[in-house]
Symmetry: C2
Subunit: 414 residues, 2 copies
């Protein structure tokens, strides 16, 4: 079944703002077997909006309209949808009372304009909105003699997403042909992109009934497998079978079979080994610590670390001897190793990480070009060092280096 998502709002036609709700809704739609065939963004002009709705009704079976349900003159989704379907609006008594009650609790006079939030298309079911004043609407309608499902949901993510989950998914499921969906997400780190494709494509392309999506970003590869069948078992069996073959091929590049992030996996292993971690970062400037501490509960295994951006800080926070820096340079295997050992000793952590490199855009030389990064992971027994040269701008080099650092810790713990 084909769906179109229309995001309504002139702000999403500026260079500054993007629709992100549609990614969330697409995930939910795919889970129940609905494919998104088109996404459209249209501004707050009634004529444009009516046209976009009619175009959508001409090419898909399910239409989700997001936004334009507020109280201002620019909020035209109700009016435009009614016009596109040649239906009328009615002012709903219960909604009107709810609006008045809301205004009363705020002790504010309600502008006349607000009342339009109680307008409902004549044949629509009302979708309650616990997080805002504008309700959603659900229409089982006819357009050019075809049955069309049309949903109107609010634009703000904290209103749109809960409403879609609570109201739209079950209603959609009830009108869809019975399909069962199985889904799995595999994740792998630091596998070269060309190698990933060569390795994986011969496997997943033979599973034509499983939709495999590959997403690569700065050393992280995510494979999502999705299969829709008339029986739950059949769908799951196909996904499991393909997942098993891909996992085998990915070998120890694979870090997650259930969609966890790399930092979650690192923290999981640290917990499992009852180990703690501390980091000394130079070129990544705190990005490793930031990713780890983004995970709730990370304080159980992550002690902290030092952003040793200047040479004296490498000495005072990570015990790197100044002579070592003078001899080998701040960006060197030796200094990375000393940082890892030093931060481990200083903090009493089980594992220490050191990262030092040249993020660019300047500071590179022939021997040590922009993008060169040294890593070291240290435990009580030994310190392992690595180096890698990453391509791209400062941001990209730092992202790749952070991913590599986390992956080295993972491998140390495996």
């Amino acid at each position: 079944m084909k769906c179109e998502i229309i995001a309504v709002g002139s702000e999403m036609l500026t260079p500054y703002r993007q629709d992100t709700n549609s990614l969330y809704l697409t995930g939910k739609l795919n889970e129940i077997g609905v494919t998104v065939a088109f996404k459209t963004i249209v501004g707050d002009r009634r004529k444009d909006l009516v046209g976009a709705i009619q175009t959508a009704l001409g090419r898909v079976d399910v239409l989700v309209l997001m936004g334009g349900l507020g109280p201002t003159e620019d909020d035209l989704t109700r009016e435009a949808t009614a016009e596109a379907l040649s239906l009328k609006l009615r002012r709903d008594g219960a909604q009107l009372a709810a609006l008045h009650a809301r205004a009363a609790t705020w002790r504010m006079p309600m502008p006349e304009n607000n009342l339009k939030q109680a307008d409902v298309i004549e044949t629509a079911a009302i979708l309650p909105n616990p997080n805002g004043s504008a309700p959603g609407q659900w229409l089982d309608a006819t357009y050019n003699n075809y049955r069309k499902i049309v949903m109107l949901v609010p634009g703000p993510p904290n209103e749109c997403r809960p409403m879609f989950d609570a109201e739209c998914v079950s209603r959609l499921r009830a009108v869809l042909p019975q399909r069962h969906i199985a889904q799995r997400t595999l994740k792998a780190a630091m596998i070269p992109e060309s190698q990933a494709d060569k390795l994986l494509a011969p496997i997943y392309t033979t599973y034509t009934d499983v939709e495999t999506t590959i997403l690569a970003h700065a050393g992280d590869i995510q494979l999502t497998l999705l299969c829709s069948k008339t029986s739950k078992e059949a769908a799951e069996q196909r996904v499991e079978e393909l997942a098993g073959r891909l996992e085998e091929a990915l070998d120890d590049w694979l870090y997650s079979s259930e969609g966890e992030s790399l930092e979650q996996i690192v923290l999981y292993y640290l917990g499992l080994r009852q180990a703690t971690l501390a980091v000394a970062e130079s070129c990544t400037g705190g990005m490793v610590a930031e990713r780890i501490t983004a995970v709730p509960g990370s304080s159980r295994s992550f002690l902290g670390g030092a952003v040793v951006y200047s040479d004296p800080l490498k000495t005072s926070f990570a015990n790197v001897p100044p002579e070592l820096i003078a001899k080998h340079g701040a960006v060197s295997t030796e200094v990375a190793a000393a940082m890892a050992e030093g931060i481990r000793r200083r903090t009493g952590a089980t594992l220490g990480l050191g990262v030092t490199g040249i993020a660019g855009p300047t500071g590179g030389t022939d021997q040590k070009p922009v993008g060169l990064v040294y890593f070291a992971v240290s435990d009580a027994h030994k310190t392992d060092s690595y180096d890698r040269t990453f391509r791209g701008d400062r941001d990209r080099v730092r992202q790749w280096a952070t991913q590599q650092a986390l992956d080295l810790i993972r491998k140390k713990l495996m």
Copy 2:
């Protein structure tokens, strides 16, 4: 003049990938007076694509098609555009030679499929692509008796954006009515959103000839002013006048009149005052350091810092007395102040920053709820402390806290 951008590619109809090129192109189009009225995302199905192109040609004057120019069977933009406009494709000799030359340098046999990248719509001008193998195309065409400009550009950002800048902008300018555009971006930090609107709307709404866009994100507000006139002076005068009034209203919430980031401004002031900075972060976990070190050349003023996630690290890296933590708790004004002073003394920096708080989702109490964050900024003369309670999830609290921390440093330096 109205424009539509169509992004072609099934991967952008998954929950995982978003079109970002269109934001960049929209900025460039707005600068030359072209408004984006619609954005459409369509998958790699020829029928869907032909339909989407015809819909666009029916509602706008300028159409940009991004993606689908590669060598695979899924790359159908050339074919679909020709079909939508009832034009033919021709195989271009020079392009064919270029493809063969490219393959020769790689010492690889060229698959037959690759040749379709030399296919050009019969009336199109070829747009060179220095960063990839598929050239772009420029069409000055007719559809239902109306003149339409159609551009085909590649999907990868590193091919799409340079080609648009080098080839499309000047060609578009030549066919557009002569307009001059003036633009300014103002940025303000930590102004309450409700206050921003109350303060600014009465000013900018009176300038109906200047398009003002406001974007708010985690304590950061960006105002973009854009004015299009027949004379450059007239456009600039209106933008300058409005910018001046908004700057006055924003007072010291304003941190940038030229679009710089808050971390760039902090580094600018540090340079100006010949001052250095070191940070001790707990709940922000390295995010302050990460934002500062994202700016090239930040090592001139930023010495580094410590991510003192555990209590012992607060002592060993930021000299916070254990008794102080025992008495007031790790999340307290006293500890924030001690962290700021301690990190400044330990590193010899001119300024020290301390941040400690409860990012959540757990760890809050009645006295100290999730979202409560203490800040301190210390110099040789004194240490100023602040506290704020932010709403939202862990990520949001950390983002707001980071923004607040940077803004406190800015204000200290102003």
